[in-house]
């Protein structure tokens, strides 16, 4: 029986808590500050509810589908339904030095935040009931399969040699593309493009961004699944890419729009974090600087130029930041990965291995297509049975009062 290492266990316990923190209050406040006052609780509640729902889904069937005994390289079997057989005995396929159940709960927090990211796309207009159903279906039919392909023992993309250290494709591309589909299917918010919709509390947004950055250390460095040098490398590249991307965004904005903004800095940081995610355990800190700069440049373009041209309403830029960032990151891994950093990985193009870049491109293509297609089908299904959008009147009154009968702030003492 493999031995449990207490140091590795301590680090992954903590990393699990950190990734949980990313969803609430991290993502909840990042998004919550960006919406209008009348929608803040509804927005926060989507992150909150996703943590609750997926925590149970994962224990019941999600983990088994994602990491359970492989069925035809496509999906895990239901053999581990309800955590049957998932004990504290380490599973050497995944993490030989920590309890198997710890690997399970660590992965749970990834499964939680992924649908959480999508909520940025349909903020301020989706029905709460439809959102719950959609998220549950999406986790089961989009996240779990993709997760199995890339990370599951026996998964076909994993077998092909895909490199995705902490979820550039599994988490960010899958959710970012789903976000775009959601934005297109649900359509724009009333008044989008004509009425001003300034963020109601940017301090909350920075609070969220800072907690995301903090939690991301658990996300990326925790993905080493041990407290070792690899974790340290991922920690450093994560911080470095975030810093480089935030600065880049600020300077681009300074140049293009005239001033560097706090929201720009925060958005750049998140773009950098999303982009470095798949690469963090395979590239050097210096490569991370380059990746961070590229992340901010490309995401800025997506958010400030392309979105404006195409005029879809991805309310909080879930696609522009996570979708685009994820794609850049997975491809960058194919460029900058180096066996010197991680012998269990591979070399990228810049270290003489074109094949890896091709594999990465396949990963991007497959994830984009699969997520887009299944997300579309699921949305249409939910639309038919429960509807997607609140009524125009409800949208105008705000979701806090119409979906939850409460309001976030009082006016009087």
């Amino acid at each position: 029986m493999p031995q449990i290492n207490s140091g590795d266990t301590a680090w992954i316990l903590m990393s699990t808590a950190l990734v949980m923190l990313m969803t609430i209050p991290g993502l909840a406040f990042f998004y919550g500050g960006l919406v209008r006052r009348k929608n803040v609780l509804a927005t926060i509640m989507q992150s909150f509810a996703v943590l609750c729902v997926i925590s149970l889904q994962w224990i019941l069937w999600g983990y088994s589908l994602s990491f359970g005994p492989d069925k035809g390289h496509i999906i895990g079997s239901l053999a581990w339904f309800g955590l049957k057989g998932v004990s504290i005995v380490p599973n050497p396929d995944y993490a030989p030095t920590i309890p198997h159940s710890l690997f399970m709960v660590y992965q749970m927090m990834f499964a939680v935040i992924t649908p959480g990211l999508i909520t940025g796309a349909f903020a301020e207009r989706m029905k709460f009931s439809s959102f719950l159903i959609f998220s549950l279906l999406w986790a089961t039919f989009v996240y779990d399969p993709i997760c199995h392909w890339i990370w599951g023992s026996g998964g076909w993309l994993r077998n092909m040699g895909a490199l995705d250290f902490a979820g550039g494709a599994v988490v960010h591309i899958s959710s970012g593309i789903a976000a775009l589909v959601c934005a297109l299917v649900l359509g724009k918010r009333r008044g989008y493009g004509t009425d001003p919709m300034p963020p109601h509390n940017l301090a909350f947004t920075v609070l969220g961004a800072a907690l995301l950055w903090f939690g991301w250390f658990g996300f990326n460095a925790g993905s080493a699944l041990a407290a070792n040098g690899l974790a340290v490398n991922a920690f450093i590249t994560t911080n470095t890419a975030a810093a480089a991307a935030a600065l880049t965004w600020m300077f681009v904005e300074w140049k293009m729009a005239g001033k560097p903004t706090m929201l720009g800095g925060a958005t750049g940081a998140v773009a950098g974090l999303a982009t470095i995610t798949p690469a963090s355990g395979f590239v050097s800190p210096i490569s991370a600087i380059v990746i961070g700069i590229a992340a901010a440049g490309v995401c800025y373009l997506a958010v400030a130029v392309v979105k404006a041209k195409l005029a879809y309403d991805d309310s909080l830029d879930a696609f522009g930041v996570h979708g685009i960032g994820g794609i850049v990151g997975v491809l960058a891994t194919g460029l900058f990965a180096s066996k010197l950093i991680n012998p269990a990985g591979n070399d990228g193009l810049f270290f003489g291995n074109l094949a890896q870049l091709k594999t990465q491109a396949i990963v991007v293509g497959v994830t984009v297509l699969y997520s887009a297609a299944v997300t579309f089908v699921l949305l249409k299904l939910v639309e038919v049975f429960v509807g997607l959008k609140v009524t125009e009147e409800e949208e105008v009154m705000g979701l806090d009062i119409t979906q939850h009968e409460e309001s976030a702030y009082t006016l009087l003492d």
Partner: protein, 113 residues
């Protein structure tokens, strides 16, 4: 000169501003208020208790205009804010004795616009 004060539903603000602009009435002062009228407050739920506040969020507009603009102003506000449902709000019209444009020191009707 008159001062027109309107209390409207917050989500009607954009529409009212548009109607006012159409009517060439560009200057106004806006604030958050709580209204207490015929409309029952929104019910809110706190840990299972339902509470129906009687103070409802409203937006207050203050528009100073010369006499000939009073009716257009009222019309524009009604056009933007009316839903024919309880809570639509009220407009109050009062006489203005004087008006000063701080920038120039101008007084009276010329200062208003």
């Amino acid at each position: 000169m008159k001062l027109v004060i309107a209390v409207i539903q917050p989500h009607k603000l954009e529409a009212v501003l548009k109607e006012l602009d159409k009517a060439e009435i560009h200057l106004k002062t806006v604030s958050n208020v709580l209204g207490c009228g015929r409309q029952k407050g929104k019910t809110e739920i706190y840990r299972g208790h339902k509470e129906t506040g009687n103070l409802i969020k409203k937006v207050r507009l203050e528009i100073a205009v010369n006499e000939q603009f009073v009716e257009p102003t009222i019309k524009a506000i009604v056009a933007g804010a009316q839903t024919k449902q309880i809570g639509d709000g009220k407009i109050f019209v009062m006489s203005l004795d004087d008006c000063v444009r701080i920038r120039t020191g101008e007084r009276g009707g010329v200062a208003i616009g």
